[in-house]
Amino acid sequence: MTVVAAAGLTKRFGDVTALDDVTFTLEENAIYGLLGRNGAGKTTLMQLITGQNSATSGTLTLFGEHPYENERALSHVAFIKESQKYPTSYKVRHVLSIAGRLFPNWDEDFAQSLVDDFNLPRKRDVRKLSRGMTSALGVTIGLASRAPLTFFDEPYLGLDAVARQLFYDRLLADYAENPRTVVLSTHLIDEVADLIEHVLLLDRGRLVLDARTEDLRGEVMDATGPADQVTELAAGHEVLHEERLGNVVRATLRGTFDNAERLRAKKLGIDLEPVSLQQAVVRLTMERKTAR
């Protein structure tokens, strides 16, 4: 089932185009990585999907319905963001109690176990929480809400490495038992590379990549070898990047690398190896920049 469908989605703030003709779908029960640099439009996109803002043009459906002011559709969405504001009079337990009432699939036991895991002080005022604790509170709400569509907009910026790992572990374990659609928006691409099944890459408001992580891994390769041979191999591919050291060239190529192609590389004396997701994303983003 399609959870979100966007077609030609555009959002302008004055003369700034935050989202430019974006078309994609989010399917049921998958973990998506929404990647891109600061200002690429990630948060804007999530705001549109969660009805926090309205699009300038294009169509957008959430569970088959228009999201803006749509109670039924929005009650199935959790949008956890670093910038979430909490009423200053609230304590941690107030936030949890409210979240428990508002999210239909809320699991109180799970929430309490997460509060313990993250050492969240239940009776502390939310505004007195450290940055890391505020992030942990957001993560707790996002996980325990078990919303059919959950967005995490870099809520883990304040979390230290141990707490982040805890988050990834809990997310994966709970996802296995309660499949749902999760969107992780992050800079820490390598950290989530094993988690995400599908990559959406935004660059300056445009969707430049919409691919399964697995496909992408086989699609972007580093080819290292003698310059002439690498140039020969590169002919059938898109060259994202090239580094030269003497007569040795390392080129980042994009295309299909089937067995015949790998064999050909081997015969040419070229070392072919897949790049990390982070490298692929960086190359794809940089390539677009130089192409202009």
Partner: protein, 231 residues
């Protein structure tokens, strides 16, 4: 409706701020008034009333405005629609106004029973708004809460929707409109007619009817504005 009640909890979950401050400040005002009037040996006849009760209304309106600016962004982040949030907020304010009205009526009875806390003080039995009908008295106490709170909510929504500039622009527009109206009335020498009209209004219209109408208009205006507001 259940969703609205759940969202109403946003305002009441941290009830300490919502309830305690208005009544604490009014309580202090009452205590100070009792002290002052007890220390005056012989207050002039008919001069034993005080406006200390207004503190409860003012603080309650401030609480209402704060609840918008603080709770709205959180509610929106939790997937609550603007409409549901606003209806829940209105519900909380109406229920609260009635409950406060009943409480004030009980305090009114206590003041009457103790002969003005033993010193003839008129703190709750303020002249003119002291009516001889229990139900009407509750309304007379309750409606000003609606009047002030919904105006405060309207102003707070103005800020949420358009920022501080929106509030200032709204204030400027209000001064322009009411100022011109005042000038027009003065120019046409209509004040006499207006006072006459006011003085012939029934007490119930002045204390309940008209303020309730203004509250309703402010409430509807706030609803219309918040539908397009973003946190």
């Amino acid at each position: 409706m259940n969703r609205i009640l759940d969202v109403a909890r946003l305002h009441t979950v941290a009830w300490l701020n919502q309830l305690v401050w208005p009544w604490l400040i009014m309580g202090i005002s009452l205590a100070v008034n009792i002290l002052i009037f007890a220390s005056i040996d012989d207050a002039a006849p008919g001069k034993t009333s005080t406006g200390g009760l207004s503190s409860l209304y003012v603080v309650s309106a401030i609480v209402a405005a704060i609840s918008i600016s603080q709770v709205f962004p959180f509610a929106l982040g939790m997937g609550v629609t603007r409409r549901t949030f606003y209806l829940a907020t209105a519900l909380v304010n109406v229920v609260q106004a009635v409950a406060y009205g009943v409480l004030l009526y009980l305090l009114n009875l206590i003041e009457g029973g103790t002969n003005g806390f033993g010193i003839g003080l008129h703190f709750f039995r303020v002249p003119y708004i002291d009516v001889n009908n229990g139900l009407l008295q509750i309304l007379v106490y309750a409606v000003p809460f609606l009047f002030l709170n919904f105006l405060a909510i309207f102003a707070a929504v103005l800020i949420v929707r358009f920022g501080a500039n929106g509030l200032f622009a709204g204030g400027a527009a209000a001064i322009l409109v009411f100022g011109s109206l005042g000038a027009l009335i003065t120019w046409r020498v209509w004040w006499g007619d207006i006072w006459h009209w006011l003085s012939t209004q029934h007490q119930v219209s002045l204390l309940v009817g008209w303020p309730a109408l203004v509250a309703l208009l402010a409430a509807l205006g706030g609803m219309a504005m918040i539908r397009r507001a973003n946190a």
